[in-house]
Amino acid sequence: MSTTQRISLTVNGVAHEKDVEPRMLLADFLRETLGLTGTHVGCEHGVCGACTVLLDGDSVRSCLTFAVQLDGAAIETVESLGTVEDLSPLQRAYREHGALQCGFCTPGMLITTIDMLKKYPLASDAEIREGLSGNLCRCTGYEHIVDAVRAVAKARTGTDP
C-alpha cells in the first residue's frame, strides 16, 4: 500500500540508512526501527514534550516530526547522554535534586534543559520555568526540576541566577 523512501541520518553519532514510510513519526522510527526506547511518547500531539529530541542541535518534538524529513540530519536522544554507570553532570544534578519520580517525562526534560542551557541566560527561576513550559511532568510539581536546572545554570556561569 505504502511506498517507502530511503533516508540517511546519524542518531547519537551513529550513521543509519533506512527505508521509511513517509508517515512514520520520528518517535516511532527511534523507538521501533532503531530500538532507542529512551525517547518516550506521552501525547502524540506536541504538547507534553516527553518525546523531545535534538535535531541538528535544536530541540524538536519527535511526535510531530516525520522520519522522512530527516535525510542528512543529526539526531541526539537521551541515550547520547551519560550511562547508568557514568551519568553526565546534568543527569547527576537531576538525581541530586530529586528532579524525577516516575522517570517517564525525564528524557524530554533533559533534552529541553540541554537546549535551554545552550540558548538562554536562565538568570531567574521565572526564566527557567518558562524554558520548561513545553514539557509536562505530572509527578514532581516542577520544583526539584527547577532546582536542578538552576544548579547547572549556576555552575555554567559561575553566578547565582
Binding site: T37, V47, G98, L136, G141, E143
Partner: protein, 788 residues
Amino acid sequence: MSEVRPKIIGARVQRVEDPRFLAGVGRFTDDLKRAGMLHVAFRRSDEAHARIVEIDASMAETMPGVVAVVTAKDLAAMVTPMRAESRMKNYHATTNLPLAAEKVRYVGEAVVAVVAQSRYLAEDAAEQVAIEFEPLGELSDPEAAAAADAPLLHEEAGTNVIALREFERGVVDEAFASAALTVGGRFRFRRKSPCAIENRSYLAEYDQGKRSLTLHATTQVPGIIRDAVAEALDMPGHRVRVIAPDVGGGFGGKSSLYGEDLVVCALARRLGRPVKWTSDRLEDLVTTTQGFDEIVEAELALDAEGRFLALRSDIVGDIGAYSIYPWTCTVEPVQVVSFLPGPYRLPHYRGRVRAVATAKTPLGPYRGVGRPISTFVMERLVDMAARRLEIDPAELRVRNLVVEEEFPYKTGSGLVWDRSGFQECLAAAREKIGYAALRAEQEKARADGRWFGIGIASYAELTGIGSRIAAAPGMALNTGTETSTVRIDSTGSVTATFGIASHGQGMETSLAQVIAEELGVRVEDVEIVHGDSDGQAHGTGTYASRSAVLAGGAATLSARIVREAVVEIASHLLEAAPADIDVAGGEISVVGTDRRLTFKELARAFYSEVGRLPHELRDTVALEATKTYDPFFGTTSSATHIVALEIDPETYGVTLRRYVVAEDCGRIINPLIVDGQVHGGVAQGIGAALFEEVVHDEAGQVLTASFVDYLVPAAPEIPAMELVHVETARPNNVGGFRGMGEGGTIGAPAAIANAVTDALAPLGIEIDELPITPERLFRLIERARQNR
C-alpha cells in the same frame, strides 16, 4: 556504636531507581518488544448512550496486515466479564464487558478490537470498521439521571442511582435549631483526568507449552489484575503472572481493571502470539478512569463563639458509566461524605450520598480520592462562617480543630482520627508564611485596589489503612495487608520482595533504606523486587498512600527476623555471644574486637561450607523471612496549606505568590522523596483548582480530549513551595511511618478556593465551583458588579 551511627531512615538518600531513567534505559511496558508480536487498535464508540444496531468489519478484515477483528460476540466465549461486587446496601454492581455488546454507555467505550502486524496497520483497519448506532436517551447531567423517569443506563439495576448511603450521628436537626449561625451552599467540583504522562499499555504473552499467561501492564495493582485475569479467563493463578515494569505515573488511573487488560490476554491465548496495545492520549483522556465529580450541598451550624455544632450534607457523585473493578463506584463519592467533617470537633453529622450512573467515562480513584472535594467544601464553610462571625479564619480553625487530649477522636461519620498534628500543622504553616505580616500586606494591596487573597485549608486523611477499614465500603478485597520477604542468597546479596508496585514513589529507595537500617547493610546492598504478582502470594499494589506504612512495616518485621538469623549464625562462626555481635554497613563484627565477617562469607559458610556450622542450625535458622503486616486501623496524616495569590484584573488569571504546606506524616524515611511527593500533590491540586476540567456537552460528547483542551499545569503555573515537616507523637504502627502520597492534592483546591474568595471579598463573591477558570471568574465578577 549503634547510638552514634548515622541513621539510614530519615536520610536524604539519592534514589536508586534514578540512573536508569536518566540514561533512558528504564523499561516501560511500551518499550517491550517480542518476536511475532501483534498490535491491537480499538474502534471506540463516538456516541455516549446508544444501541449498537450493526457492526460491519468486512472492510477492516481485508486490510493489509490484519490478523483478527473481534467483537463482544467473539469475546464472550473467551472472557467472563467482571463485576465489582460489594456487600454495601443499596448498591448495584454493573456488568463490565471488555467490548461493548448491544449498547454503548460512554464516548470512547471499546466496541471492536482489531489485531494487526503493526500499530499503524491496526489503526488503519480500525478506522474502516463501520458501526451503526441508534441513540438512546441523553444521560449527561447526574441530577437528571437520578430522577425516577430518566432513561436507564443499566436496565438490570432498575435505577441510575447505583449506590446510596446515608447515616446520622448525634442529633443534627436539634443542633441546627439551637445554632447561633448557619452557613451553607451548593458546591460543584468538576471532573478530572489523572493524566499520567505514560499512557496505558498492555503486552500479553501466552506460553502454549506451559499454558501460562504473562501480562506486562501499566498498573499500580499487579496482584489485583492477576486475580482478575485468572478469574475472567478461568485459569489457575499460578499460570497467570502480571508484571508492572517501570510505570510512568498512575495517580489512581492505573489502579483498576480495564477491558483492554482482558482483551490482550484473551487474544494472546487465542492467537498464540504476543499481543500489545498502547493507548494514545486521546484514548487516555476518554477511557482512563476519571476523578472528583460531585455536587455537594452542605450546611454547618455554629454557636455564637464560633464552635462547630453540626453538619448536614447531601452529595451526588457522577460515577460515569460503570462501577469499576475492583473498587466499585463508591470509592470516590462515599469518601466525600465520610471525610466531610474534616479534622474538626463536630459531634453531630448527617450525610447522604448518591452515586449516579451517567453516560461518561467511569469514575475511579484519583489522587486524594473524595477528600479534595470534602476538604474544599468544609474549608469553604469554615471561611464563610469566619466572615459572618468576623473572626480571622485561622483563629476559627484553632477553636475547632481537634486538640491533643481528644485523640483518638471519632468523627461524625465514624472515622477515627489517631494522634496527628492538626493544631501543630496550622500553627507551623502560619509561622512559616508570616501570617500576620501577610494580612498586613493584603490590607495594603486591597487599599491599592488589587485582588489579593489569602487562603487556608486544614485537613486530615487516613493513610496506610489496615484490614479493619475497607478502601470502599463492603468490597470483597482486603487492602489492609502487605507482605515482605527478605532473603540473603548464597552470594550474600540481599533481596526483598513485595506485593506493592512503585510507579514514581521511589519505593525501591525507601524500602531499601528501611531494610538497610533494620538488617545492618548499606542501601545499595538491597535489591527491591516489586510490581510482579509472582513476588508474593497476595499483594494488592501501590495506591491510597499505603506502601510506606504497609510495605515499610512488613519490611521492618521481616528484616528483623533475618538480622536475628545473621546474628545467630555469626555467633557460631565468630565464637561470640549473640549479644556481642554487631551488624552494620554490610559487615558483621564482634564488638570491641577485630573479628569480623562479610555477608558474603556468612552466606558461604551457611549455605556451602556445611561443616562450619552445627547441622541442626539449618533446621531452626534461615537467611530468609516472610512477614505480613496489617496496621489494622491505619494512620492519620494531616496538614495545613496556606496560599497567597493575586488575580489579574485584565486576564482574570490567578497567580500564586506564596504556597506553604505544613504536614505531619510521622517518621520520614527520605525527605527528598517526601518533599517531591508534596510538591507533586500540590501541583495536581493546583491543576484541579484552576485549570483542569473534563467537559462533556449535553449529548455526552467529550470536549477535552487533548492536552490542548485539558490543561495540565506546566512549570510557570506552579509556584515555589515552602514545606514544613511537623512530627508529633509517632503513630504506634511498626516503623512509625504515615502515608503522604496524596495529601498535597487534598489541601490545594480548598486553600486556593478560599484565597480567591478572600481576594474578591470586596465584591462579596463566594467560590463554590472548581476549577476557577478565568472564564468562570469573569462571569462571577461581572454578575457581582451588575448586582451592586
